[in-house]
Symmetry: C2
Subunit: 204 residues, 2 copies
């Protein structure tokens, strides 16, 4: 974690406090492990701040239900029961999305991905959450299912105090251009290289 004073003080007319509290667009990209895991770790911090947090999983993982989802649902219940932390929503794209009453069409993942993005746009316009995790969002963008220029426009013009974290490989350069914080996770060594498969507790 970087410490100390920033090396540049920008000429943006903002006070240090205003600048400090600017909402961030963050991207975890690269071929290494830890992109999603770090995003979910960030969501823990958001929960602890009492922010309404929403996770949107755009791609099925090796195991459909991640350990994090169970942990977050438990933390979300604590918010409801005791007012500890913030409310947490965890949505994943399977056959449609959990908020949609209609059954999704397994044949049309592109339409499902786009409807997920439309919902996120609605929530951003309503300033519904303090932190949005768009997990593996780079894939439907790269596959052309969601228009990158529209993503850039929506995220650049979001109002209020809404942090957004996007994960996935090969993030579009246009997304990186408007991001405040970009980290690349690089694989140096992985057990798969030595013939070891993924295991519970580690990969899911």
């Amino acid at each position: 974690m970087p410490k100390g004073q920033p090396s540049i003080v920008p000429d943006d007319g903002l006070t240090t406090r205003q600048r400090r509290n600017r909402p961030l667009l963050m991207v975890n990209t690269g071929d290494g492990k830890g992109k999603s895991t770090a995003a979910f770790g960030l969501a823990l911090r958001g929960w602890n701040q009492g922010w309404p947090v929403a996770v949107f999983q755009f791609v099925k993982s090796a195991k459909w239900r991640l350990g994090e989802q169970t942990a977050f649902e438990t933390l979300g219940e604590l918010h409801t029961a005791r007012g500890t932390g913030g409310p947490i929503e965890w949505h994943k794209m399977g056959s449609g999305w959990s908020w949609s009453r209609k059954e999704g069409n397994d044949e049309d993942h592109a339409a499902d991905a786009l409807s997920g993005w439309r919902e996120i746009q609605r929530r951003l316009a309503a300033e519904q959450h303090g932190l949005y995790v768009l997990d593996e969002f780079t894939y439907p963008v790269n596959w052309g299912w969601i228009d990158i220029d529209e993503v850039v426009d929506t995220l650049s013009h979001r109002t209020g105090h809404q942090h957004v974290m996007i994960t996935g490989r090969r993030a579009d350069p246009k997304l990186l251009d408007i991001a405040d914080l970009v980290t690349e996770m690089t694989k140096i060594k992985h057990p798969m290289d030595a013939g070891q498969k993924g295991q519970r507790g580690i990969e899911w």
Copy 2:
């Protein structure tokens, strides 16, 4: 997350199941953000598996209490109250360590770091945890407070099924040699570069 079949099947006499369930030594290194955050995200997965998880913070963070600590303590209480997930311990090196009855000596961080490592050695020998997070452990090693050869020896010969995750910049090459999974987090862009300071919910 890598998917599918490993490209090599090693000639180690193990079955796929045995190989899959081998305990891992993992390292998150590099100058980018997300090393610790991803390690804590991994701890969530361990909690969900019901593993006894222990976090050891070797270096003070910008804010002494991370959001994750509160979240994990809450999850640990749930384990105690309802048997949900696993037990979690969170130890940090301040003036000594929380398990030590004697007051630590603020003047001697080297001795405190070493006593933390000695405790970890005892716990590894007793096979006390399913996952150990040694957060920012590379620093006391790099400063010569903890002997790297001893670390390599202890970790290489640990028994049972104990996963270990080590975070921090400039991990020693000897540590990387024996690690199963190494990820480098690289900073591509950070708000500090644009004159923005860290903020709550993001950096702590």
